[in-house]
């Protein structure tokens, strides 16, 4: 890993296996296999990929909503599963917070915006009974619901999608987390307000030195906002690239496919895509590259297990064909 000092969060060789199907011998769905990455304070790390790529499972494993089958998650160098084997402690949950895709489902309809923010403030001892309302109003202010005091007593039904997502962000910030996992935070929002929410995340990482794990299918948004991009396919990391160098640096055929499939106003829409569409074989997968079925560059070696090549400070690749240093 390129980190000389202990990173805030490090994930090593993470594997998550779900049993699927019933019967005597349920099959194994490999949602994640051998995923490693690190993220530091003040950084935005984007995780991109299509459905079934395992990007959401990364977020759920980091927040300990699912327990990994193999590998480890280290928070400031401490293996969190070894330290807290029976489940995440309150302190871990305080430090690692999550916002979800659907702001209509993630807020309780019978409670006010204020309740959603005051509860974590009180549970995690951030506010006294007397100051909780004031602190909650300040948090709502911070996420752009101004004046915050006016939003405290509003119920979710009285808020727009964008406003609800801001309440969800304020709730996550209430615990003063170190890491914010944002799973498709804008995909349910209207186009005209998406950029506002993304910029809020950007401001928070700068002002609060927050590490953000941005899980998204939107490569353009990921490139604009993040420092590095992890490209996932079939539960495996295909490539890690510095976001600003995405177009020039990316080597993996899957990364190139995602780049080619993203909308570009001046591109030729009929230009042939560099690989096929398809779904990864996550259930009882064969060893070797999961992308093999869709890749035009595949060769016999691609059915052999993959290793990671470090091609640059923040550039890692898992590909048999394109991994040679140039």
């Amino acid at each position: 890993m390129p980190h000389p000092v202990t990173p805030l969060l490090e994930v090593r060789d993470l594997g998550v296996v779900f049993p699927v199907g019933g019967g005597w011998r349920p099959k194994k769905l490999h949602a994640l296999a051998g995923v490693s990455f690190a993220v530091d304070r003040g950084e935005i790390l984007a995780v991109v990929g299509e459905s079934g790529s395992g990007k959401s499972t990364i977020g759920r494993a980091v927040t300990r909503l699912v327990e990994p089958t193999s590998g480890s998650v280290l928070l400031e160098g401490v293996d969190v599963h070894a330290a807290e084997p029976r489940g995440p402690s309150r302190s871990y949950r305080r430090r690692v917070q999550m916002i979800f895709q659907d702001p209509f489902g993630s807020l309780n309809p019978v409670h006010t915006a204020g309740h959603h923010v005051i509860r974590p403030l009180r549970i995690h001892g951030k506010s006294s009974k007397e100051t909780a309302r004031r602190d909650a109003a300040a948090l709502l202010d911070l996420v752009g619901l101004r004046p915050g005091a006016d939003f405290l007593d509003k119920h979710p039904f009285a808020l727009s999608g964008g406003q609800r997502q801001r309440v969800a962000i304020a709730r996550a910030l209430a615990t003063e987390p170190d890491i914010l996992v944002a799973d498709e935070p804008t995909s349910m929002l209207d186009v005209s307000i998406r950029m506002d929410v993304l910029r809020l995340l950007d401001r928070l990482r700068r002002e609060r030195n927050l590490a953000v794990l941005l899980i998204t299918h939107d490569l353009a948004a990921a490139r604009y906002l993040s420092d590095r991009i992890l490209v996932m396919y079939g539960g495996q990391l295909m490539e890690e690239v510095p976001s600003k160098e995405l177009a020039g640096t990316a080597r993996h055929p899957y990364t190139k496919l995602l780049v080619a499939a993203a909308p570009r106003p001046n591109a030729d829409i009929h230009a042939a895509l560099p690989a096929r569409s398809g779904l990864p074989q996550n259930i009882e997968p064969l060893p070797g590259c999961p992308f093999i079925e869709r890749c035009y560059d595949g060769a016999a070696i691609c059915s052999q297990p993959l290793t990671v090549s470090q091609l640059g400070p923040n550039h890692r690749l898992r590909c048999h064909i394109h991994g040679d240093p140039r």
Partner: protein
Amino acid sequence: MTEPALDIRSLTVGYQTEAGPLIAVHDVTVAVAPGEILGLVGESGSGKSTLIRGMLRLLGPPGVVVRGSVKLAGRELMDLDEEGLRQRRWSEVSLVPQSALNALNPLLTVAEQITDTLQAHGAVTTAAALARAVELLTLVGLDPVNLHSYPHQLSGGMRQRVALGLAMALDPPLVVMDEPTTALDVVVEREILQRILTLQAERGFAMVFVTHDVSLLLEFATRIGVLYAGRMVELGPVQRFRDGGAHPYTQGLLGAIPPAIDEQREPSSIPGSPPSLADPPTGCPFHPRCDKGRATCRVTVPESTHLDGEHEAACHIL
């Protein structure tokens, strides 16, 4: 000028509620020439789905078409009875919906859905209809081995291809696409889009393509119409939109797209959120979010005015 494939005049569509009618689409006038691709873009609540459901008379109660006229190749759709509508559907206009899972009958195989449609519109033998179904699947890039699959056995992209094949079945001169690729992964979306555009170029049908994603339309539409709060706030050739648009809302919407992979641009955002249908602002529906507003914007709804040639916008400051 040749007869337009679709001619919508002053179409107003609403919903009956206990508190009285709620107007979701106000006075929309737009025509689509044969072979043209009209892109319609709008956010949630902009009325884009109500508009196409209203214009195709697919809107069930409490939805009602309040007034207006819709002509398909010169023939009025609004005064047809159910039988007249049934005859026109699929043969003169077809619809590709957003979620083919909900649009396809879960109890019928792909073959049955297609042969049903073919046989409802003409005396076709089952063998001939099946042969045509195979042809259609090949046309939309789906392996004919899927002919006897049920919708739930297909992936989202495959179902969307079936819906596209159905829309092509009777070779209609107009195809309406309601967010046909929104629920799909980006790569599948791109493949289906390419297929749609190839079919459109080969067969020359006119197309209305509805989406919330204006960046998609910039790539292939002939003209773009922007809907906001149920009104067509801007309509013009695609190049006007590539140049940034005229209406402040269009400009904001285009600015809010994250910069493309090969683009260096700082995105902007529009403050506030789209208005509620039940409680629309007075005057121009965009004035609470507009930074160029004048006093009159708060009072009077702007009329659509021609800027140049085919380009029109509804804004007081233009």
